[in-house]
Symmetry: C2
Subunit: 122 residues, 2 copies
């Protein structure tokens, strides 16, 4: 299917809204004070609290892996958090959950940048 | 642990090299011709072939989800591929696997940009 506007749309995804499709939420964090273990631990504590949110199906906290250094691989982030949801509704419930709100309130002063990717299974 | 050089290092990860830790490989693709269904389908066919690589534990092909539009969420990519490996060795085996080499050869002319994140479980 060709669409105007320069955005690729996948026909299957257009045909049925992605309400019932698994949603993968991947967030990368850069710290204001990258040498502060205290700040890092605060962020990790905050991230660990998010696993308790009912809608979260799989949850992984990561750091850059020691894979081959290639120009296309971004290894500059401090910590990453990957979560899976059954559907868009689950992700929406997560965003407004008190634990998520508390996390943002407590931890957002720690980071200089976050980068988020939300993908829905094809 | 405080290190010079401006890079955050997590003590646990330093203590034991991440050979035995799960590796998560997330790749985002932007197409040269974002309106070409033919190119998109070629890329999807190529991505589907990668699931057959023995070292791949979990595999998800995605497109941007219809989550809330926020400045920190990048929804400009066409397709994403998320794969899990038991360890760094698995990821290394994947990179040099004939199916992966064939994928890069066939599909790299289709993309204008890729962005890769390799994370190891904390």
């Amino acid at each position: 299917m060709t669409l105007s506007g320069g955005i690729t749309m996948v026909p299957a995804a257009m045909a049925s809204p992605d309400k019932k499709r698994q949603v993968i939420h991947h967030v990368f964090f850069w710290l204001k004070n990258p040498n502060s273990t205290e700040d890092l631990n605060k962020l990790l504590d905050g991230l660990r609290s998010l696993e308790k949110i009912e809608a979260v199906r799989q949850y992984h906290i990561g750091i850059p892996a020691l894979t081959e250094a290639r120009a296309v691989v971004d290894k500059t982030y401090a910590v990453s958090a990957l979560s899976f949801f059954d559907d868009l509704e689950g992700q929406n419930a997560y965003q407004v959950h008190p634990l998520h709100k508390k996390f943002v309130e407590t931890c957002s002063p720690l980071w200089s940048r976050i980068q988020v990717y939300d993908a829905v299974d094809l």
